[in-house]
Amino acid sequence: MAAFRNADASGRTSGLLLRCVLYCLMALGLIITDKRYDHLGEMRRFLSVVAYPVQVAVASPFQGWDWFRESVSTRENLQADKEKLEAALRIANFKLQRYEALEAESQRLRGLRSNTAAVAAHFLIGDIMHLDLDAFRERVLVDKGARDGVFVGQAVLDSGGVFGQVARVEQLTSEVILISDPTHEIPVQVNRNGLRTIAVGTGDTHLLKLPYLSTSADVVAGDLLVTSGLGGGFPAGYPVGTVSAVKRDPAQSLADVDVRPAAALDRTREVMFVWLDGEPGDTVPVVAAAAPASTAATANHTPAASHPQAASHAQPAPPTPPAQHAKPQHQGSPP
């Protein structure tokens, strides 16, 4: 530091050291306040509104190009797209025919075990903004924020499967951390046999790892992994990825399992924010207070349980009334 004092050869930057120390103390103060006390939400929100024009300015040429390409596509292209989509819709409808019956059945069975798993109740579509936030962290910026009721920790899906979760919410935008981020872990289940474990991101958008499985665990290449719903953050039963390789080294106690994510993490342009059954805060109490609530639950399900055949064919109304569709609109980000 003594070197700085000799610096004033010209006498012009006298006070350089002083100003440097001042700014550094301010920066350190910010780091500590932000990290330890989390008091800077308002300030960050304000600054992000200031930064928003830059983000929009950078992203808009790409969005403009997308729009241009869409608007000049030919009639034949649109026709082909339409046919493709219709075919996809037909297949989806085929699969959906049994869905309501199966869901009712599964709800009933879970009700018997007084275990209420979180079910996705409400979706909101968001567009990914064309921005690179950080080369070493797998994050994207989406154009929905606190104004739309998005909250921190919210599950985000795309059409293929689980995409990530909300890491930070601003007024107009939110930052989504991908399941492939090296700091992200998601509770999963092997669809074939119900084996539960945790999938960890690697920093590579095409690869997740299952680091906590023993070499004797029953998992083979091709297994589908779905969310287990444990932990409450993600709705249960959505595809996370497929096991692409299992390496078992007899010298190690843990297997080396590679997973290919189901969501198109590096290509998708639209994502869905998911609100679970009920508010984020009260999914936990429902599970915790299962015993007192079980009377209500069984009362709901006894008629159905006594006539399982009739119920599964009668396409019963979803046990969760449409009231919840209105609910998420009132959710702000948690304090």
Partner: protein, 158 residues
């Protein structure tokens, strides 16, 4: 290139804004890791050219902008950028008479120091990024320095 001009605010603000946009411009994943820290280079340039026109204040607020845009802990880039800009300001009289090669080498040292402070704060706040490729940015940045000084000094003289 030898002046200590007090009022050069407009080109300064403009170049910083452009550099900030370049910092978030989407690139293919393959070359994303090679993206130099444009804004940092611009801040270094102005710290050396006209420290009186903003210097450390520019460094601090540019760092803050990077923090907000990258969504990392507030103050991280601000701290790193302020420290390194102060160092650059301190050495500016010598740097101006250096050849371009020695300038680039010095800038490489600054960029590495900058990256190291980021690395340290990353680790201290609990989300370390240990990817080796983060140390590539200083190399690319130093290689880009002669081009950038040529470009910015043109803007400067106008």
């Amino acid at each position: 290139m030898m002046r200590d001009d007090p009022v050069r605010r407009l080109p300064m603000a403009l170049s910083s804004l452009v550099a900030l946009s370049l910092a978030v411009l989407p690139l293919p994943t393959a070359i994303d890791a090679f993206r130099p820290d444009f804004l940092v280079l611009v801040v270094f340039y102005w710290s050396i050219e006209s420290p009186r026109a903003g210097g450390l204040a520019l460094a601090f607020f540019a760092g803050l902008a990077l923090d907000v845009i990258r969504g990392v802990v507030l103050g991280q880039h601000a701290l790193a950028l302020t420290l390194m800009a102060a160092w650059a300001t301190h050495l500016r009289l010598r740097l101006r008479v250096f050849s371009l090669v020695s300038q680039s080498l010095t800038i490489f040292a600054f960029l590495t120091g900058y990256q190291f402070i980021l690395f340290w704060v990353d680790g201290a706040t609990g989300n370390p990024v240990t990817a080796f490729s983060r140390w590539l940015a200083p190399v690319i940045g130093a290689l880009l320095w002669p081009l950038l000084t040529g470009l910015l000094s043109r803007l400067h003289d106008r």
